[in-house]
Symmetry: C2
Subunit: 270 residues, 2 copies
């Protein structure tokens, strides 16, 4: 039998992402994958040594890794290079791109310090990403918190912030022309948080948005009439639901999130 490739999937969290990537890649080749080895939750250099020892002895080894902890990741890279093993860093380019964009340094020791927290955090963030913008109503049923509101009320950053607090948050835009999914009326309204905003402020926000898109700032989307109609509709939906309503006018995302966290803890809206 001819020698195929041996794929090593390595991560300091689970290897699901590395599995996905290997599978998409494999779909494009007729060649056999001779061997697939999975090393999730790699936490020390000894484990890396073992992986490298095995990979070094296969004819065509490729390591696909989603390691983030710098010292382990660097060690893996150094060892792989030493033994001439091909290695692909999945997360590095994405983390670098975010760091470059924001100027903020990543918490790269998260994976190392609190393994369970780390995995839980990835899980809830993945939830927020998956169920952003209400495209899949299943998110409404599975979420700890469902955020609703008209366009440009900061639903997405709010849900991401809540995810960083380990809360599974889905969000759903409200538009007069589209009836909200039935699921919204089936869940406990205590889980639902409606964002409302001063119409004048929202008009300004939307005009800015249109300008940044190079569009006419006088488009219907940013008129007072349209904005008032949308907010009125949204507030009617919130009333029907009996959910908590938060006025986000001039509120930072953290402040809105703190209101939600407070309500969830059984407190009141301040």
């Amino acid at each position: 039998m001819e020698e195929g490739v041996s794929i090593y999937l390595v991560s300091d969290s689970n290897v699901d992402t590395a599995e996905n990537i290997a599978s998409i890649a494999a779909a494009h080749f007729d060649t056999f994958i001779e061997k697939i080895k999975k090393y999730p939750y790699v936490g020390d250099k000894n484990q890396i040594e073992e992986i490298i020892m095995e990979a070094a002895n296969d004819a065509n080894s490729i390591i696909i890794h989603t390691m983030v902890v710098p010292e382990l990741k660097d060690y893996l890279l150094k060892k792989a290079q030493k033994f001439g093993i091909k290695i692909v860093d999945v997360m590095g380019p994405v983390i670098n791109a975010i760091e470059d964009s924001t100027g903020i340094s990543p918490h790269t020791n998260l994976a190392k310090n609190n393994k369970e927290d780390y995995l839980k955090k990835i899980e809830v963030i993945e939830f927020a990403v998956k169920y952003d913008d209400g495209k899949d109503a299943m998110g409404i049923l599975l979420a700890d918190v469902v955020v609703i509101g008209v366009s440009r009320t900061s639903k997405t950053p709010l849900c991401m912030y809540l995810a960083h607090k380990y809360i599974k948050a889905a969000n759903l835009p409200l538009v007069p022309e589209i009836e909200p999914p039935q699921e919204l009326f089936e869940i406990n309204p205590k889980k639902i948080f409606g964002l409302t905003i001063d119409p004048e402020v929202l008009v300004k926000i939307r005009k800015e948005r249109l300008k940044s898109l190079g569009l006419d700032a006088n488009a219907i989307y940013a008129t007072e009439e349209r904005v008032k109609k949308e907010i009125k509709y949204a507030e009617e939906v919130m009333k029907r639901l009996g959910c908590t309503v938060i006025d986000v006018t001039n509120k930072a995302v953290e402040e809105t999130a703190n209101v939600i966290l407070n309500v969830l803890k059984g407190g009141e809206i301040s």
Copy 2:
């Protein structure tokens, strides 16, 4: 509100992998994700134009893509660079690594020519990767075909080959010291294929393997006594199951796969 990053997830298949990667990355930053836009199944340049137009107007856009079709991928890269948008190519490095290792060129137009075939193929390959080596008995219940046999009978490449034929194949090693999972006895034995092999040939294969690992070729793993014991045990399990048994001695993976495909079609073992 301060400006966060806008994440664009783009693919010529689904965006699940890009979602995973974005979520792992986001776990490492306190900064907000301001916006998440998903563009699965991108199939032409017009769609790419639209994505770029929107991304170009956000303050901190990052495109994370799993595109494989060369002309679309190149177009996306060129346009992103033109507008100064950060872009991360997830699949490129993995496909290049496999191409370098094997000398085989990928079928990069798969995604373009047969969208449904492509998605189905990724799905079945992912199944084979996930349920390789019997670590999760759920695979036995979900598979179209379950391949069993002792170590070094080419179970993995066989399952990958079957996946390329759109068959969901799981595999499970048989070892005398470990009772096979109960699930194996609950499924239709027509789905199970037991691989057996001439003991002398297997002794040679295992000795080669030990040598390539830099280990003593006389280790128990490669002795005639051990190999005979394992094969005898495996054949007993196959008899209990009443499954199809295939002698893979000197058979290429394609030949073994063809036997299985033939049986599945209702034919006989030649």
